[in-house]
Symmetry: C2
Subunit: 270 residues, 2 copies
């Protein structure tokens, strides 16, 4: 019996499958927004990508969304089998926290502990995972707009919020700065999901790198379904405008990456 | 649609299903061993039980061990369904880290960060989860004694080790004290598994509170299978004796709980 490198392989497979790295980029940009060097926040940026990847691996499982394609490649369980996919997700989650705690250098441990609290809370039963459970429960049911937002805030926006908040905490930011980026993240988190929903009904699987039209087939609540595609597009523009208002508090040059990231999210095609 | 309390219910169900609380007890006893008050270490003790419970929920899933009974009750996925069981496990894991970071009071954040590193490393791809993957891979194969130990060290002993090490770190212990309790934990970790294997072949499901004889049926490597029941019992006695030697470094009265815990593990009947 060879001691298996299989779990490492499975972890790397999804982590390095060519995601957009939006959470790490948000985190680094937020650290620099308040004058911190990107080296301070690199372990946290990696941890955010690990936790996000974990949520995708578990979300794709047969028992959950049962997806075969992710980022243009077969999903983790399709390649490594369900047991390994479950455990590789768990391992990525544990590694994320270990990585931040063990590898963050040059930052007061007070700030490291605060950032770990933020990350844990964004993921847990009041964060991303609550969103996933609510989302599952909503399939096949009538879902109102406010309920849809509740799902998306938890499923997507919480971790985006943690990305910028952790960046600012580790970068040395103060309470007001944290609140500003938190509001910015809430807007782009919702924006991200609205755009995702729009793309799901308007693009092919090849362009998306995942199975298109799935939300429609599986009877999931989406923004285009509830408000129509044109209104969903208008809503996206409003969220973008709100997000940029929050950035006005900071130096224009330092806020530029976050501005352009919001611009990228509202304009993305896959 | 009601915003689901289902994930909380599922988390509580397994967390409060009447486990033996060996990890929290080890953690508290280790904190007190080096003079720390139990209040300092309570969040970490809870976190250890949460991570242990997570590993049981995921281990019991149909894709893994496919177990119907745990601690005398239906397993989590039997009650709440597979999707919720997967997500409840994830949420417990995230909550564990959040809880330690957010709720530990009166301890330097340096020590909190070190303890989080230890916990993450005990769980991750070099810890418990690696053990679970190796264990799965070993089913139906010929497994040597050293390979069996490798599995058990990772699957069980790593988290027990983290329990005592985190207790000593948070309790204010020094490097030598950490090494002593680490060795102690390695012994009782292996001891725990050897006794578990012995009980699996000698006791009924009713006494164990889980499906008995499962390891034999599923062709899993166990100590009784590889060395015979009598030799497995002798091995357990040796491990107990080694564990108590490590405790001789400490005050007898303060080491008493850890001594009796080892005694309990070697004598337990379920």
């Amino acid at each position: 019996m060879q001691h298996p490198e299989k779990i490492h392989e499975a972890m790397r497979y999804s982590l390095l499958a060519g995601g957009k790295r939006i959470r790490p980029v948000l985190c680094i940009a937020s650290c620099e927004l308040v004058g911190g060097d990107e080296s301070l926040v690199m372990p946290m940026a990696c941890a955010l990508e690990m936790t996000h990847t974990m949520s995708l691996i578990h979300d794709d499982l047969p028992a959950l969304d049962n997806d075969d394609l992710r980022r243009g490649k077969p999903t983790n369980h399709k390649v490594f089998g369900e047991p390994t996919a479950i455990l590789a997700g768990d391992a990525l989650l544990a590694l994320a926290f270990e990585h931040v705690a063990a590898k963050t250098v040059g930052v007061s441990t007070d700030r490291v502990v605060r950032a770990i609290t933020e990350l844990g809370s964004a993921l847990g039963a009041e964060g991303l995972l609550k969103g996933q459970v609510t989302d599952l429960d909503s399939e096949g049911k009538d879902v109102s707009l406010s309920e849809l937002e509740y799902i998306h805030v938890h499923k997507t926006a919480k971790l985006l919020e943690a990305s910028v908040v952790c960046g600012v905490i580790i970068g040395g930011g103060n309470v007001i700065e944290i609140e500003r980026v938190r509001n910015y993240a809430r807007c782009i988190g919702l924006l991200f999901q609205v755009v995702d929903d729009i793309l799901d009904v308007t693009k092919s699987s090849t362009v998306l790198g995942k199975t298109a039209g799935k939300d429609l087939v599986s009877d999931k609540a989406t923004y285009p379904k509830l408000m129509g595609i044109e209104n969903a597009k208008k809503f996206a523009e409003e969220l973008f405008s709100q997000a940029t208002k929050e950035l006005a508090y900071f130096e224009v040059s330092k806020a530029a990456p976050l501005y352009h990231l919001a611009k990228y999210i509202v304009s993305r095609q896959n």
